[in-house]
Amino acid sequence: MSDILNSLVQIVGEKGVSNHPEEIWFYSRDPGTLEPHEPDFVVAPRRVDEVRDIVKFAYEKSIPLVPMGNGMALTGLVRPLKGGIVMDMKRMNKILEVNERGRYVVLEGGVSQGQLKAYLEDNYPHLRHSIPDAPPGTTIAANVALHGQGRLTQQYGFNSDMVTGLEVVLPTGEVCKVGSCSIGPYWFSKGPSLPDISGLFLGWLGATGVFTKVGLRLFPRKSLRDVEVFVTDRADLVEDIIYRLTHTEMIEDLTIWFQPKPMIFKDNYHINVYFTGDTEEEIEFKRKMIWDSLKVHMDSKDGGFMGVGAMKATFLEEPQRSIAAFADVPKGGGFEYSGPISPIEHFAKYTAKVYELAAKYNLLFAGTARVISGGHAMMYGISFAFNRADKEMMNNVKEALEEANEFTLEHGSIPWKPTVSEQQMTMNMMDPNTLKIMKMIKKNLDPKGIMNPGNWEVS
């Protein structure tokens, strides 16, 4: 063991390696409900060559290696299921280049969402990225590695769709560039018009390589931003409401949420409609179009726009701190959610399931959904808060989420940032030939199976 430690110290220095019980304990778990798995070592590289050397070393020695961002997926994706090394990427946090006119940024694999947001606000006030509502420490690289979403997902798709290039350290230690950056200095395209090999890495949850650099699309930041909240008490109407709203092609972000408490939110479905403009005129025009699009539901009194008042600042916050605050509802520091990527037509069905599960397991819930790509799909989030000091409640959350996952999978949804058991459930349902391709990819890229083992592992 000390040989491994010494080798790692050689690569990243003494401060960058730990096998102390404190780091071993901490890096064995995430804030969700899944059981811990201990690593043998934790390393924190600063440079690409250090990542490369760590991966090469792990490959040579067949040591499992788990790359980690902020570890906030909540689904246990950075727990080292087979021990080995956890590689904390957050010290690689340089923003390397912004191509202002080309609207993209190139950054290191540990840059956080919050850091990029602040950097752009300081230096490129006309540009923004699709920031998720996860805490600001979550990294860009981890977010695209698991097909994360953000504030601009309604307009432009998954955050992984916004990748314009990658630098990946392959499980065998080679440093590989993906996209236009593989043939020249520009990072404007992750694939087209080349064969798009980014799919070998995006969505693989770190099981096919370590992202050391990411190119990411940036988007115009308009000077004004506003939100309207449409409310209905009929879950069955939400699908139509989304259809009508997305038809306007004027919406920045579209999220749907429902929760039993506080009382103001009871029994209703809230559709947050975000829109932007450079002038008051533009904003007001969009506001009117948004209202007009839902006239039929207002006329029937099935829905209406609520006064947002003091809540507006919370809604417009990026990231929205109140999302993390949900963990404290049972005064217990935890929540976990299942977020299947789903057909929008299932909104009502899934919602009924949320109520059923909350009652069955006696849990505090929050339902959320985010529309993806102008209405092609949605992320449907089923969240249950728990008290970390209450083992029974945590277990109930775990069981409720397993049941939710099974239910949504049966209805054709794809689990988002799936737990290992959800991955297995998914692969069990998958077309065998699809599975075969996945197996080939994994086998060829990671012949010794060292990268985040247990994840997307085709048996």
């Binding site: 804030p31 904390d88 602040a118 993390a324 963990a327």
Partner: protein
């Protein structure tokens, strides 16, 4: 048999979600938790510390040097309490860390530098292991009287009494106060350690002894109003002395200077300099005093005050808080808080970093040297800048 540990706020510890908001300033521009910034691992952030304390209370990890190092690396800067998203929990983050350190003290398993600090205070009454009769040396030649019945007691503290940089600062503050005509006296060699660092490092018994002695002395002398050089002393006098029976009107010297300027008892003259101001945590985040030092600086005609990227409630700590000034758990590497802060100061284009705390003064002065910026940047306290502008 594993030890059963309890701490006063142990029932709150599990409420941390380790979401990490506590690591950042309000706009997320960089990590704002000094110990996390200096270290490589999440365990050194407030969330990491909180989760480890829970594991330790539950006997999932044992007391050991690394755990002690992690606890004592906290600089108590208060950024986490500002940024944590959980009301009712956030206010107790530093209490929990302090209580856990208190348990370590009880178990006798503390880092050597912390142990040495306690020993020096116990034996010598100061962390420098210097004789008590040298405490008043800083005031030699500035004609400031021993406290008898003046309106204000000027309390200097250990750093101002014994550290070269601190003494320089104490002399500047003392001189300006005296020359303004303020009725003020000092304790000189009769002064004792205020105990702020002793408390935050977890030695409650020693703290209580220091507080009792100080309170007895202050009361015997009839002290009503105290001006502190050090925001750390101000903190402990304001927050913890009242519950031990020591109730006084406490001011930081920048508050007094601000008032003296407004009352025209000090009239600054033109001084064409560019200054950036570093908020001390115990003045800013802990006591919300952001305006007074800035008002003093802005009152100087010709002085241009430029803010660092992180300032006010978001200011990045110099790394000296929580006793780290003496125990140096976070070290002096490139990512050490004081060096990070000095580089941030350099980015403003200012030639002077103004400080209002002797511990910040020393930390940042050393960082200027470590960054080899002696010719570019100089650290001065607010009173020194004012003195040069009168």
């Amino acid at each position: 048999m594993e030890p059963m540990r309890t701490i006063e706020h142990g029932n709150l510890v599990h409420r941390c979600f380790r979401c990490g908001y506590c690591k950042f300033p309000s706009d997320y521009v960089d990590f704002n938790c000094p110990s996390y910034k200096a270290a490589a691992f999440d365990t050194y952030s407030s969330g990491g510390r909180m989760w480890l304390i829970r594991a330790w209370l539950n006997n999932e990890i044992k007391t050991g040097p690394r755990f002690a190092d992690i606890l004592y690396s906290c600089v108590a800067c208060g950024n986490c309490t500002e940024q944590c998203v959980y009301p009712g929990f956030k206010d107790h983050l530093l209490d929990i860390f302090e209580e856990a350190k208190g348990e370590l003290v009880g178990e006798g398993l503390i880092p050597p530098t912390v142990r040495d600090y306690f020993k020096a205070i116990t034996v010598n009454g100061n962390p420098y292991k210097l004789p008590q009769n040298e405490r008043g040396k800083w005031a030699e030649g500035i004609n400031i009287e021993e406290y008898s019945d003046q309106d204000y007691l000027f309390y200097v503290g250990c750093v101002g009494s014994y550290d070269e940089v601190g003494m320089h600062m104490a002399r500047n503050v003392g001189t300006v106060l005296k020359e303004s005509g303020l009725s003020v006296g000092i304790l000189g060699s009769g002064e004792s350690c205020d105990g702020n660092e002793v408390k935050i490092l977890g030695e409650t018994g020693l703290f209580l002894k220091l507080a009792e002695d100080n309170i007895r002395q202050f009361n015997e002398l009839g002290v009503k109003k105290i001006i502190t050089l050090d925001p750390h002393a101000m903190n402990t006098f304001k927050k913890y002395y009242p519950e031990q029976g020591g109730r006084y009107q406490i001011y930081h010297y920048t508050e007094i200077l601000d008032r003296l300027i407004r009352d025209k008892q000090i009239i600054p003259v033109e001084n064409r300099i560019t200054v950036t101001y570093h908020d001390p945590c115990y003045l800013g985040r802990h006591h919300h005093i952001y305006k007074s030092p800035r008002s003093v600086l802005k009152s100087i005609p010709g002085l241009e005050l430029v803010e660092m990227r992180r300032n006010g409630v978001d200011a990045f700590c110099c790394g000296g808080g929580g006793g780290n000034f003496f125990t140096d758990i976070n070290g002096s590497g490139e990512e050490s808080p004081s060096r990070v802060r000095i580089r941030e100061a350099l980015d403003t284009g200012a030639s002077i970093v103004a400080v209002a705390c002797p511990q910040c003064a020393k930390m940042l002065t050393d960082a200027v040297k470590a960054e080899e910026m002696e010719g570019t940047l100089v650290v001065k306290d607010v009173a020194e800048i004012l003195r040069e502008s009168i």
